[in-house]
């Protein structure tokens, strides 16, 4: 290697270093891109797949679930257990117990896919945290729905539709929803 190419190599290498430093400096004066999580939260997109929850029928204020058990069959992780009874005067069964083992759930969405009566949907709740394992291994969706239904009954009928889409903040969901700010609200 001749001296001149060696010098050119060294100079070229040194220049590449300076270019790199210019870029990092240029980035340093740009605003930061991170979201300071507990202070700020993100709005989840409409299709966000949280844990499943029972849908509140805005017309009746009850679940549409007929306890047909298709979701139980479709679940790859066997994490749904449900039970229903046939009430008098009704054509179909209605759900009395819907337990989700969220510790096993892989959020694949097979259950929502197969549901013939659109009775389950994904919640937008991503603040799923608790000190108690039971909160997730036996997630009582009927109980959660009951909390929603209570709000529904209070506001029924005008805001019914709006209520049905707000996140769950039931007593049972204390650890998961109540302490942390609900998604969709962005702090300044």
């Amino acid at each position: 290697m001749s001296l001149s190419t060696a010098i050119r190599d060294v100079a070229g290498g040194f220049k590449s270093l300076l270019v790199g430093m210019r870029i990092t400096l240029g980035q340093a004066i740009k605003p930061s891109i991170t979201v300071q999580y507990p202070h700020q939260t993100l709005k989840m997109p409409a299709r966000f797949r949280g844990h499943v929850k029972l849908v509140l029928d805005p017309e009746t204020g009850k679940s549409r679930c007929t306890a047909c058990g298709l979701c139980v069959k479709a679940c790859p992780s066997d994490c749904i257990e449900l039970d229903g009874i046939k009430r008098e005067g009704e054509k179909k069964k209605s759900v009395t117990e819907y337990e989700l083992d969220f510790t096993k759930c892989s959020l694949c969405g097979s259950c929502v896919d197969v549901c013939p009566s659109d009775a389950i949907e994904y919640s937008k709740d991503y603040n799923v945290v608790s000190l108690n394992r039971e909160d997730f291994s036996h997630m009582d969706l009927v109980k959660r729905l009951e909390a929603e239904a209570e709000i529904w009954r209070k506001h029924h009928p005008p805001q019914a539709a709006a209520v049905a889409t707000t996140p769950v903040t039931a007593p049972a969901a204390l650890a998961t929803g109540a302490k942390t700010p609900s998604p969709g609200q962005k702090a300044p």
Binding site: T24, L25, P31
Partner: protein, 334 residues
């Protein structure tokens, strides 16, 4: 005022001052580094402890103090414990001769420069002993690297310093600064009439300083993605903390030296205002250099080990030898 002139009291005050200076610098340079990294990476950095994260060093300190210093079984416990102190103490010693202002110096030694370099070399040995005493394979590899790296970079650094000695003709650091009085083109780094390659010399010094302090991109000793934490792998708690602080103390010393040798120390760039504001100018220049060190760390990947050595033996040493000869010739001609 009279008691201030008493030598022991003055020295004691300076000792406390230097310790406080190093401690505060080490603590807050860590924060500055993390904040700087955050800025470069477009995130806020630590901002939870105290206002804008200003209490983060305190929190870190408490965390480190609360941890047990484990001495791994089968190690040389004495060496293992001594190593952090041996890294820390020389950097403190170096600061004794650094003039922060015209009169703000603990000991205005005639051989200040020599003292800084003598003590600066101890740090290598301490890292090596720490790595060796850890009885950990990663640490031993790291100590071997430290030695070869520091030996390689000591040479060009000293060659540069010899060049500077030829230019300045003295080893007294304050004297060197006095020579650079006046406008900023009187600073050694711009003295192209003495040596046209003076800015290059400064860059060589700066690179060697990075390598000597084991800073990225020359952090072979720590190399966390290869050697876990290198020589510090087995250290926990404040043992690790002292190593960490020593790294920053060494950077401070290195940047002080660069400021003194090349950037006119406490001299103002405009020829005036250097008396009272001297320390301010000094700190300004020093922190600008430290910022560059941080900036470099968060920009580049780590160098390869043999290109690191090649850089020294094949580029820096010939180049610094060349500048040395050139300077000698120029001085003779002038």
């Amino acid at each position: 005022m009279s008691f201030l002139t008493l030598e022991p009291i003055r020295l004691l005050l300076y000792l406390v001052g230097v310790c406080a200076f190093v401690g505060a610098n080490a603590a807050y340079l860590v924060l500055a580094e993390r904040k700087g990294a955050g800025r470069i990476q477009r995130r806020p950095g630590p901002n939870e402890a105290g206002y804008a994260g200003l209490l983060q060093p305190v929190a870190d300190g408490i965390k480190l103090l609360a941890k047990q210093i484990m001495v791994p079984p089968g190690t040389d416990a004495l060496l293992f414990r001594a190593a952090p102190l041996m890294v820390m103490a020389p950097s403190l010693m170096c600061l004794a001769v650094i003039p922060f202002g015209a009169n703000l110096v603990a000991r205005d030694l005639n051989i200040g420069l020599l003292l800084v370099f003598s003590f600066g070399s101890i740090n290598v040995m301490a890292l090596m002993l720490g790595g060796w005493a850890s009885r950990n394979k990663f640490a031993i590899i790291s100590s071997a690297r430290v030695v070869s790296q520091n030996v390689a970079y000591e040479i060009p650094m000293l060659l540069v310093v010899i060049t500077m000695l030829m230019v300045t003709g003295t080893m007294n650091l304050n004297e060197i600064i006095h020579q650079q009085a006046g406008w900023f083109w009187n600073w050694n780094v711009f003295k192209v009439w003495v040596n046209p390659l003076m800015p290059v010399t400064f860059v060589i010094f700066f690179i060697c300083m990075l390598a000597e302090t084991n800073r990225a991109p020359f952090d072979m000793a720590e190399a966390e993605s290869e050697l876990v934490a290198g020589a510090f792998t087995e250290y926990g708690g404040m043992g690790f903390g002292v190593f960490f602080m020593a790294e920053y103390a060494n950077i401070v010393v290195g940047c002080c030296l660069a400021t003194i040798l090349f950037l006119g120390g406490w001299q103002s760039p405009f020829g005036a205002l250097s008396g009272v504001l001297g320390p301010l100018w000094f700190l300004l220049k020093m922190y600008a250099l430290i910022f560059t060190v941080i900036w470099i760390r968060w920009t580049f990947p780590r160098t390869q080990f043999y290109s690191l050595l090649n850089l020294s033996w094949k580029i820096l040493i010939p180049l610094s030898l060349f500048t040395l000869v050139l300077t000698g010739v120029m001085i003779k001609i002038i």
